[in-house]
Symmetry: C2
Subunit: 337 residues, 2 copies
DNA sequence: AACCCCTATGAAATCGGTTTCACGAAAGCG
DNA sequence: CGCTTTCGTGAAACCGATTTCATAGGGGTT
């Protein structure tokens, strides 16, 4: 049951011989060194073509000290199930990296410990850079960055930190969503927040509050219900809001799932969406489109997010100074508001 | 802006010196060669511990010819958006592989061409094995397998092919779903299929047909509507079924999204679910839970699917003869049927 | 014309493990 | 008791690219 190896891969030594140059020159040609005589470049390229040569990554990595590998680090515990965008982002990252001759290494593991296997792995110099999703503890990332490893993270980090990150405009999206509700005539707009410990949830809440400020008022504290992004919490918090009897006529939910939960609670209480209460969600997920009523929602460009992560990493590897990027969101208007 | 490198990593030569043995012995110890004297094993392990040594992957790969890298290959065009399980499966794979000292390489690219970059990459011997998702063209996979590369695929392949694959029991799930509808008193159960060119869609259709057979009849051809897994197609095909006026009172949709579309069409026509028509979906996605009415659906164990893919790969790498695995499905009963 | 500098190039060292091979010692055998 | 095996071990070759370093020519300067 052993592998019947195909033709043994070509090496520099063969190419060098066939092209009548030294291995050093082959290397120079393949790495785009401009100093090589055009004739030889052509000769080498011809042979490379004919032999169907492919660079041996491990050998190149060993010799150059660069692995051409970028890790995508995902925390095992939380992200996979809670973040529906994970796949899309990763694919965007992978595509962009691949176009730049880099490979994507997928690391799904518990990232919490600064001393765990992931930490060791990353610090072992096995990868040229790391992209983090769903950052909860920043200690590890901070340390890696300090050691000189190029790091880009998805989502706004907590602290002052000078990490480079990419995020959707949670604040702006929430602001726009809330203002839309107000513009639709809602007098008392409430919000159901997501996990406000994480920055995304917090920013969406801030956007909501800002809409009130821009109207010259302050949102009543009772108009803020704290959910956790789940359908159940949306339903539950909506029930609580209704019980408070504040005359709520508009809801900004921090994601679509909670918006759907809220609508379920509203309809169970005998009211209707959007006639009695209007609802806006966040994410513009497939559910926003298929739910009845369909849900007005804040759209994030997830593909672009992934691609941006990849691009920033590439620029960072090239030594550029790079800045965090906030991607715009867009309000998609449907039946619910 | 250059990396302030931490301590330069330890190497065999240091370990060998410190432990008073040769580098060859260090290698043997670190690779678990049983022939080494226990005293030396202990000595080496102690030094390794103290120095916090980490194996240099590139060097090891170069010397041994094994990369310890397994590729997950995903076709750019289709899978990412259409398959909601992608992320979950990948994470399962990655976790299992990591527990076995293997890394997961994510390849998102167009896989169609037998001569494209992915093909080249895989044939370049850069990885020790490959796991394919969403297989459309089998040519490349077939060739890789023939060349001795361990290959495992997710989903049942088309042909006779002797590939090793892992799949959910689409046939059994569909059979169970349809029988459930019949048991609920449905006299005329129809189905909305997914893409029947792909095996999963076909198997679900076959399961549906089998339910009729087991009842001793044959399903009327007009009871079969062909969708494409999208919400819109579910709605559209349901409309068509209703227009045929066959007295349909049960629907098995090949996924939840189409089930939701079907329900939308049913309610728009003035009928109600489940009173007039009962509906069963497939996937047990989050939408099945949050939709109103909530949807009875066939559940697949996606996490297990990913883990199984990883496990099969590991066993294959170990040289075991392995067989395809079909994972059981489970009918989750909710309001719609 | 003598001298210096720059450029293109190849020989050889190097990266850090793995594996082959040879050898001495210990063990098994007749 | 002498001879063949087996066992543990280290020296050294090796994996395939990259990179340093030395060198031979070519060009320019005065």
């Amino acid at each position: 049951m052993v592998a019947p190896q195909a033709k043994p891969r070509a090496t520099y030594s063969e190419i060098a011989k066939a092209a009548g140059v030294s291995e050093a020159t082959v290397s120079r040609v393949l790495n785009g060194d401009p100093r090589v005589n055009p004739d030889r470049v052509a000769a080498v390229q011809k042979v490379v073509e004919e032999l169907g040569y492919k660079r041996h990554r491990a050998a190149a990595a060993l010799a150059s000290g660069r692995s051409n590998l970028i890790a995508i680090v995902i925390d095992d515990d939380l992200s996979v199930f809670s973040d529906p965008f994970w796949a899309t982002i990763s694919s965007g990252v992978s595509r962009v990296l691949m176009q730049n001759e880099l490979q994507t290494l997928l690391l799904v593991a518990s990232v919490d410990s600064v001393d765990g296997p992931v930490a060791h792995y990353l610090q072992g110099g096995e990868v040229d850079g790391a992209i983090f999703f769903q950052l909860h503890k920043e200690t590890l990332v901070k340390r890696l960055a300090k050691q000189g490893m190029p790091v880009v993270i998805s989502g706004t980090p907590h602290g002052s930190s000078d990490f480079v990150y990419v995020d959707s405009d949670n604040f702006g999206g929430a602001l726009q969503a809330t203002k839309h509700l107000m513009a639709q005539g809602c007098k008392r707009v409430a919000t159901i927040t997501g996990d406000t410990v994480a920055t995304a949830g917090n920013q969406r809440l801030e956007g909501f509050l800002q809409a009130y400020r821009e109207r010259g008022t302050v949102a009543n504290k009772n108009l803020i219900a704290h959910g956790d992004y789940s359908f159940e919490s949306g339903k539950e918090q909506m029930r609580i809001l209704l019980e408070r009897d504040l005359g709520v006529d508009g809801i900004f939910a921090a994601n679509d799932l909670m918006a759907i939960g809220a609508i379920a609670a509203i309809e169970e209480s005998g009211l209707s969406v959007p006639n009695d209460i209007k609802v806006v969600g966040f994410d513009d997920s497939i559910m926003a489109q298929t739910s009845r009523p369909s849900i007005t929602s804040v759209r994030q460009d997830i593909v672009r997010l992934g691609e941006t992560l990849g691009e920033l990493m590439i620029r960072k590897l090239a030594g550029e100074e790079i800045e965090p990027v906030i991607l715009p969101t867009e309000l998609v208007i449907r039946e619910s508001a």
